[in-house]
Symmetry: C2
Subunit: 197 residues, 2 copies
DNA sequence: TGAAAAGTATGATGATCATAATATTATATG
DNA sequence: CATATAATATTATGATCATCATACTTTTCA
């Protein structure tokens, strides 16, 4: 081999990193091959040496978005006291920082609306992400002794995704903060994470 | 005037109707001028006699999406018993029918993720739609004697939008149904619309 | 009935984009 | 140091799209 043997693999990772960011910023369809390659410091010519088609590329980039990210963060504290783990996760998920980090953060809200229009592989990857996160939340809820932990986790995830998405859509900063704050409060209350009001 | 005086206005409405449907199906950016005109039974040539630019057109089409729709439905029953009105609304919003009607239904979930990338006018229209729907839900909750009705309404809307969006993203029909069912149950319970389990 | 004007269609232009063929650069090995 | 070759760049092609100029229809009124 010329170049060192990992050169191409590293380039591929860099391209996928940039694609993941670009998808968060522009959505999976507005993404252009040349644009992503330029962001990775390359020209568009070499693209097809890495990916067979744009569609396959988008599927790879979406899979890439699910590696790492906030779900991993919640998973890491699997052994921690469930009340603290869940409270911390809700506070992070519905924070101004998460809302404003338009190039990082949980992939679920970014891809939610476009998911039905993605390739089969990407839809499956998305569904797996939903199921995985629901399961982790349910595990923590069950550890807290909640009944119907799986049901409650599904409902809670819906509110997390919905509130973050609505907060991102709201142009007025105060009202956007209010959307986050209200769901933070209500989620913690209804999951029994803090004393009732 | 040649043609009758409402001819152009009717054509405009028809084009906007089709655009609203197309936005629900394809998203506000994948929409093509020629495609929408063809759906309305026209060719692309006359487009600029109706709209100054594609961007202005999209803003008009989005405003059009907010006229009528499920919010109007909830508004209509403003005088009805609040428990029945809210229960009916939740059951409709999180129904398989609403999930599957990819060319009708509440505009909030369709536009949610793209909202930050829309024109200022469209973002404002979107925010107005969120505030309006939150207000109506809050009014019903207040009529039920709930404290913090506005906060609770915001939290509930987040779950409505999130659950519908996640249900649409889920390729497996059973799991999609489950997402809807779980949020229907939990929403009604936490809003005090039915006896606790 | 005929001409003027409103509404719509045809066709053109330039931009952007995915894809692909070919050329060039960089570097590990002999 | 020379060369083979992996990795990337240049350039080309055809498709799609927004925009616009111009031509054609349709309908109302003189």
């Amino acid at each position: 081999m010329r170049y060192d043997s990992e050169h191409k693999a590293r380039t591929r990772q860099k391209v996928l990193d940039e694609a993941a960011k670009a998808i968060r910023e522009e959505g999976p369809h507005r993404l252009g091959v040349a644009g992503v390659m330029a962001r990775a410091g390359l020209t568009h010519g070499g693209f097809y040496a890495h990916f067979p088609s744009k569609e396959a590329f988008i599927a790879d980039a979406i899979a890439h978005m699910f590696e790492g990210g906030p779900t991993a963060m919640l998973e890491k504290v699997k052994g921690a006291p469930p009340r603290e783990a869940l409270t911390g996760y809700i506070d992070f998920y519905l924070s101004a920082r998460h809302r404003d980090s338009r190039s990082g953060g949980c992939p679920l809200p970014y891809l939610a609306v476009d998911a039905p229009r993605l390739s089969e592989a990407s839809r499956e990857r998305y569904a797996k992400g939903v199921a995985h996160l629901t399961g982790i939340i349910a595990t923590h809820l069950a550890a807290l002794g909640r009944d119907h932990a799986e049901d409650e986790a599904s409902s809670a995830l819906a509110e997390l995704v919905g509130a973050l998405t609505l907060a991102r859509a709201e142009p007025d900063a105060d009202r956007s903060d209010a959307i986050l704050e209200r769901s933070r409060t209500h989620l913690k209350r209804r999951l029994g994470l803090e004393a009732a009001q």
